[in-house]
Amino acid sequence: MPAVQETIDQVRSIDVDQYKYGFETEVEMEKAPKGLSEDVIRFISAKKGEPEWMLQWRLDAYKRWLTMKEPNWARVSYDKIDYNDIYYYAAPKKNPAPKSLDEVDPEIVRTYEKLGIPLREQEILAGVEPRNRVAVDAVFDSVSVATTFKEELKKAGVIFMPISEAIREYPELVKQYLGSVVPVTDNYFATLNSAVFTDGSFVYVPPGVRCPMELSTYFRINEKNTGQFERTLIIADKGSYVSYLEGCTAPKRDENQLHAAVVELVALDDAEIKYSTVQNWYPGDAQGKGGIYNFVTKRGDCRGKNSVITWTQVETGSAITWKYPSCILRGDNSRGEFYSIAVSNGMQQVDSGTKMIHLGKNTTSRIISKGIAAGKSDNTYRGLVSAHRKATGARNFTNCDSLLIGNECGAHTVPYIESKNASAVFEHEATTSKISEDQMFYCQQRGLSEEEATALIVNGFVKDVLQQLPMEFAVEAQKLISISLEGSVG
C-alpha cells in the first residue's frame, strides 16, 4: 500500500522531462582509437593487463565476428549501425584502476551519489540493517571504478570483483567458466562482446555458502559515441546461494549508443542464483531520437542437479531492447524462472522474452511476462520452451499478459514450443487487455487523477512480477514504471 502512494507522489513530482538520469559527468577520459580492429582489441587487452590466452580468445572472437551477419529476425527496426564509428574503450584518465575509493575521481563519486548509489561503505552502513546491505560494483563506461564490501565478502569466501581483475587474479576459474554458457560463437552481438568486452562483474560463491548480502552492479554509460560491452560471470558452487541485481542509466544524447552485454550464470548441484535487472537506459526522446540500443545475451546454466536460476527483469529504458534471459535446465530436477515487466512508451521498441531449454529429467520452468505498451511503442514477447528427448517429466508454465495504453501502440506475443519427449507438459496462457475508458472514469470518479489511476491499474497488472524483486528494488521499480508511463494518458 505505501508503495502505491509513493508511486503517486513520484509521478506528481516529475516535470515534463521524464528521464532524470540524463545528466553528463565532466571527466577527462582516455579512449581507444575510434572503430574496431585487431589493434583496438590489443589496446583493450593491454590496458587491462591481460594474459596472452585472454588476448587470443578475444582475437579469435573478432575473426569469427567478421564472418557473421547482424540478425534481423526481431520485431525492431533501426538504421544500420556503423561499427567503425564507435569507441570501444573509454576510461577516466585519472587513475583508471583505483585501489580504494579515495583514489577515485570525486566527480565520479558524485555521479553515483546523484544516481542514488552510495559508494562509501560508511554511508551505506549508516542506519541500514546488516542483512539489508548491498555490495556494489560500479562500472563507468569501460571500467569498474569501485567495488564495495569486498573485504567483508572475502571473509565469507565470496569473490566479488571486476572481471578484468578476476582474469588476473583467478585465471583458472575464469578460464573454466568464461564462454561455457554463451559460447564465443553464439550470436553476432555476443561474439562482438567476446572480442571487445571491457568490464563487468565476476562472482564466485564457494560450496555451501549463502552469500551474506545482495550483490549488485551499477552500469553507467557516460562518454559520447561509446559502446558499453560488459561481461558478467556468476558461478554458484554446490549448495550455495546468491542474489544479484543490475542497474543501468545513461545521459541523454541525440545519437544512439550501443550496449551489447553478455551475462553468464552457472549453478552447480543444489545451488541457486537470483538475478534481477532494473534497466533504465536512456530511451530516446518522444520523436525517437537518441537512446540506447540494448542488444544483450543473458543465459543461465543449471548445470547441477536441483539447481535453480531465477531471472527477474524490469525493462523501462532503451530505444531498442533485444534481450532474452534464458535457462538451460541441464541438471535433473533443476528449475528455471523468468519474471519480466517490459514497459515501452514514446517510440521505444522492445523485443524480449526468454528461452527455457529442458535437457534433464523432471526439470521445471515458469515464465511470467507482463508487457505494457504506451505511446507509439511496440512491445513483443518472444519465448521458446523446448524439451530434449531425454527430458522426461519436464514441465513449463507460461503466462504472458500485455496491457495497452492508448491507440497507437502495439503488443505482440510470439511463443515457440518444441517438445521431443511425450511426457513433457507445457502450458501457455496469454492475454491482451487495454485500460478501458470506463476503468479510468471509475477511478477518477473516486478522486484519482488520470496519472494516479494509470499508475494504480498498471501496478495491479505487474504485481505478480514485482513480488519477485527484493523489497527495496520493488519499490524503486514501481516508481520507475510510473515515470516511464508519465504522459502516456490523455
Partner: protein, 250 residues
C-alpha cells in the same frame, strides 16, 4: 445543494437530455424514476463528468460551484459520489489498496492530511462490518470475481468511507436479492444526514420501500415531467409509465 438548470446533453449526435431542471436540497433524498431510455443513467454520468457526453446548454451547480468546469476527480473531491450500476474491476489491486489510494487522493486535493494507516484500517473495518463485508474480501482485487451483491456492497463501503456530500445511486437495486437489498439499503440509510443529499435512480418502487425518499421525480425523454412526494412512487408502481408516453412515436 444541487441545482440543474435547463440541461441539454447529447452523445454522438443523439439528444438524451432536453432541458432538464432539478433541485435537490441538503439533507434530501430525491428519487428519479422513469422508463428505460428516459436518460436516467445519462444524468448520473453527466453529473459525475464522464467523457463522451456533450453538454449543449444549461448548468449544474453544487453548493454554487459549477460542476461542468471540473474534471471527474475534482468533482469527487468536492463531494460528488456515483455508485455505479456496473462497478468496474481493477485486476491485481486489492480493494483495501484502492480504498486507501482514493481516500488519500481526495484528502490531498482538499488540502487535508493523509489518514494514518491505523486510523484508516479502523474506519474501513467499522464500515465493512456494517455492510457485512468479510475481511478477506478487502484483500481480494477490487470487484474481480465479486458477485453482483458483493459489488454493490463495495460501492456503498466506498461511499461510507469517502463521506461525500452528494451521492448518486444508479440502479443500485438491480441484480440484488432481498437480503443484499436490505444490507445495502441499511448502509445508505446510515449515511443519511442533514448535510448530505442523495439522488436515487431506480426503475422500481421496491428500493424506495427501504430507502424512503423525500421527493420523487418522474423522468421522460430527457426531462422531469412530474414531481411529488414519496406517494408518487406508489402511484407509478400501480399505473406504470403509460400516461407519460402519450404523444411518443410508437
Amino acid at each position: 445543494m444541487l441545482e440543474i438548470k435547463n440541461l441539454h446533453v447529447q452523445i454522438e449526435d443523439k439528444r438524451i437530455l432536453n432541458g432538464l431542471n432539478l433541485t435537490v436540497n441538503k439533507g434530501e433524498i430525491a428519487a428519479i424514476m422513469g422508463p428505460n431510455g428516459s436518460g436516467k443513467s445519462t444524468l448520473s454520468y453527466v453529473l459525475a463528468g464522464k467523457e463522451d457526453y456533450e453538454v449543449l446548454d444549461g448548468e449544474i451547480l453544487l453548493d454554487g460551484e459549477n460542476l461542468l468546469e471540473m474534471e471527474p476527480d475534482e468533482r469527487a473531491a468536492v463531494g460528488v459520489f456515483l455508485a455505479f450500476q456496473y462497478p468496474l474491476e481493477i485486476p491485481g489491486v486489492a480493494s483495501m489498496t484502492f480504498l486507501k489510494a482514493t481516500l488519500n487522493a481526495q484528502r490531498k486535493a482538499r488540502g487535508e492530511e493523509e489518514l494514518s494507516t491505523p486510523d484508516f484500517i479502523k474506519r474501513v473495518n467499522a464500515a465493512a462490518q456494517q455492510l457485512e463485508i468479510p475481511k478477506d474480501m478487502l484483500k481480494r482485487a477490487l470487484n474481480v470475481g465479486f458477485s453482483g451483491g458483493e459489488k454493490k456492497r463495495m460501492e456503498i463501503l466506498q461511499m461510507a468511507l469517502l463521506q461525500p456530500s452528494f451521492c448518486i445511486l444508479d440502479e443500485t437495486d438491480s441484480g440484488l436479492d432481498i437480503d443484499a437489498l436490505r444490507i445495502v439499503s441499511e448502509g445508505v440509510n446510515a449515511l443519511r444526514s442533514p448535510d448530505r443529499a442523495f439522488l436515487v435512480i431506480t426503475h422500481y418502487q421496491r428500493l424506495l420501500n427501504h430507502i424512503v425518499p423525500d421527493t420523487v421525480h418522474v423522468m421522460h425523454s430527457g426531462r422531469i415531467v412530474k414531481s411529488g412526494g414519496k406517494e408518487l412512487a406508489l402511484e407509478l408502481e400501480a399505473s406504470g409509465y403509460a400516461e407519460y408516453r402519450t404523444g411518443e412515436a410508437a
